[in-house]
């Protein structure tokens, strides 16, 4: 085969692979949206679910999702960023550090149902938190922690050492250099990690089902109340055959919010880079 034909062939193969990936994504999104969009309207978003979700909307479910996800970020972000700062800026390669790294890698690979089981036994039963927003949020926090730690660590390590040296050479302490130089420079990466984690948390079903409860359809008032998230609602609507129409509508809302989250991440990153290159 001549190098030119080879080149052309590789191009075609790569193009085909890219096309397959895009087609898969599009067909899922289209499949869901075609069936879901007709039922999504303002009333659907603002009304409470009635008759187990067979009728009405998803207002309380949206609120439940917002509460659980926000609270889980509230726990996971500071711990995750702090751990990443330690790993990237302070830790020297030692056995303890390899142990920490190994734990984070493993944590990332554990199936979510295991997190759910752990959350159920530990938070719901042992700590007597019951099926509640707090139990669900803590469980999700554990689950998204590795994502936040890893992306934050990577982006901190990607900050050129010349920046850090420059800062130290001006008389900044190590801590000042981290907070005024390294973290601001790594912010887009850190934000991406948090948003990726958010996406995972929003879409998570098994872990939430076992910890935040599934039957609650009223508006949660405190973090000790149970809550149903979009993903759980969708699972129950379809699994128990309550209403496929509402299930698709819920799925549409779920997909749109995750797509919105992703494009928000991308546009924030682009804008940040553009601002730097002015």
């Amino acid at each position: 085969m001549s190098p030119r034909t080879e080149e052309r062939l590789v191009k075609v193969v790569l193009w085909a692979v890219a096309a397959v990936v895009i087609t898969i994504l599009l067909s899922i999104v289209v499949h869901v949206m075609v069936r879901g969009i007709p039922s999504v309207n303002l009333t659907f978003l603002t009304e409470m679910p009635r008759r187990m979700g067979k009728e009405g909307g998803i207002s309380t479910v949206l609120a439940g999702t917002l509460y659980v996800v926000t609270l889980s970020l509230f726990f996971a972000t500071p711990i995750g960023v702090a751990a990443a700062v330690y790993l990237a800026e302070y830790a020297r390669e030692s056995r303890l550090v390899s142990a920490i790294r190994f734990s984070i890698e493993s944590l990332a690979g554990i199936p979510s149902i295991i997190f759910g089981l752990f959350g159920f036994v530990f938070f719901v039963l042992y700590l007597r938190m019951g099926w509640s927003i707090i139990s669900g949020a803590l469980t999700l926090a554990l689950m998204i922690l590795p994502t936040i730690v890893r992306t934050t660590e990577e982006s901190l390590k990607a900050v050129p050492s010349s920046y850090k040296e420059g800062s130290l050479a001006l008389g900044a302490t190590r801590l000042q250099t981290i907070f005024k130089m390294a973290i601001p420079s790594a912010l887009p990466g850190i934000l991406t990690g948090i948003l990726l984690g958010t996406g995972r948390a929003v879409g998570e079903t098994a872990a939430v089902l076992l910890t935040a409860g599934s039957s609650a359809l009223s508006l949660p008032r405190t973090i000790k109340d149970p809550a149903r998230t979009l993903a759980v609602h969708l699972f129950i609507l379809s699994h128990e055959g309550i209403s496929m129409e509402k299930a698709y509508a819920t799925a549409t809302v779920l997909i749109v919010s995750i797509l919105a989250l992703n494009s928000l991440t991308t546009s924030l990153l682009t804008r940040f880079r553009q601002r730097l290159m002015q």
């Binding site: 020297r92 920046y163 040296e165 130290l168 050479a169 001006l170 008389g171 900044a172």
Partner: protein, 253 residues
Amino acid sequence: MTLAIKIATKNLSVYYRQLQALKYISMSIPEHSITALIGPSGCGKSTFLRTLNRMNDVIEGSRVEGEVLLDGQNIYSHGVDVSEIRKRVAMVFQKPNPFPMSIYDNVAYGPRIHGLKRRGVLDEIVERSLRAAALWDEVKDRLEKSALGLSGGQQQRLVIARALAVRPEVFLMDEPASALDPISSGKLEDLLFELRRDYTIVIVTHNMQQAARVSQYCGFFLSGEMVEFNQTKTVFTNPRDKRTEDYITGRFG
């Protein structure tokens, strides 16, 4: 003519793990002058420079023996505030390293780190520093724009302005012109002449002509040793050591 000594090293040695990178350097750097350090790559001149504001501390496995006296005080003695030393002894690196923020924020970085918050005062410091670094006229209309958009020569002057903003006494420059084109490099040399009046400058350079042009004192390093240190004129016209002569006439290096 006797000049006040700004920095003196006494039997200064640096080790990277087992390797001795600097061997018993004793040198006196006069105040308000430009001292050039020359020598082939890997001779220890950059290592020497980095000991003068303790930037070697950052490198894992490095160890310093001997003394570095700044105005007579050993900066390696116990209990010395490293931040304070680095504030007094500024460093400019080979590759311009503006921070990924606006021109203004770059210059204000140091003063802010050291606790200054008032906008009016910061404005003044930023303008004064940029003027002193001969950059003000080129950037005064785009202070809020990113520093990464400046040319290499402008970036290097910005880095100098950033250092000026913390009011240092000494400037250490590690091949500051090696990444610049001849015109930018010329501007930088003009700037060095200006700065010499108020600051003590130590510059590492690979460029013999540059060393001869800008410096009053010159040290020649080879394999971790300081072979010769004298007035630049003497080093270039009448070197005491055969190795110095070989190097400056281009026989090796």
